[in-house]
Amino acid sequence: MTLYDLANPTRFLKLVKVVLPWLIVATVAALAVGLYFAFFVAPEDYQQGQTVRIMFVHVPSAQLALMCYAMMALSSVGSLVWKHPLADVSAKAAAPLGAAFTFLALFSGAVWGKPMWGTFWVWDARLTSFLVLLIMYLGIIALWKAIEDPIKAAKVNAIITLVGVINVVIIKFSVEWWNTLHQPPSIIRSGGPAIHSSILIPLGLMALAFVLLFVTLHLMSMRNEIMRRRIRAMRMRAASAAPAASSSTITKAAPAGAR
């Protein structure tokens, strides 16, 4: 089952139909176990108290936001270079999910920082780069909506996503540099307080649960996108089918014009 075999949408849909139930079960199970560990097993942090539990939402969604953008970049290469047909579909299906998880990462980050800084929003290096990432996601979604023809929209989005990928790295660096210029390094370093194994396990479980959730939602959203394209194609055929029928009567009179 090479990647190209997956190119056939019908085979892809069959695969999705088989895999999806298992994925849903796995996601629910992982979430349940993760939440249990997050709330009942992980110890209270001596310094931050209960708020450290927010990390189990913040860190997985932040990782997912970046992973989703990387996946979109890969799909962009797939659609531009290998012209893999489902790459466009996967890139378009992933954009809203990426935006949602970036927003979740931003919100949980702000809420996590509130007890420490006293305000919801702080121009902390990581939060700022996620804010810029969110603007990029929303720009890409707007670009998808702005172009009607799916083939052209896919190529144009692939270009912007690839240019964006280089920029995410530069932004991360420049924001961190800019941040140290204006402010002492904030408490939430990416590692946070030294990761103690009792926190690591719930974190890993929640991260796994979030990834499974993402894959499930992404497959379902790709299925929707394939259906959307089918509808568009059938509507176009309905439009082009009508005159053809009538014009065939006209050409009957003409000698040549074999169909």
Binding site: S108, W112, P115, M220, A238
Partner: protein, 76 residues
Amino acid sequence: MDFSEFGRHAEYVVAAYAMAAVVIGALIIWVRTDKTRLEKELQALEASGIRRRSTRRAGPSVSQATSVPANKKNEK
């Protein structure tokens, strides 16, 4: 571990998980409603008789262009 000794910042933890639930819930609902709406539309289109290509698979695609030899009088 019950909720009473959740400490002074309980509302923030609750807020974060609540928002997570809201966002994930919204995504799930969005995907499901999209699916049903699209399926209904697909059914409607198929019901309206737009035959799909494979049911009337034509022979090898007929050459679309027929050249008429040079200097023929240009009759339409």
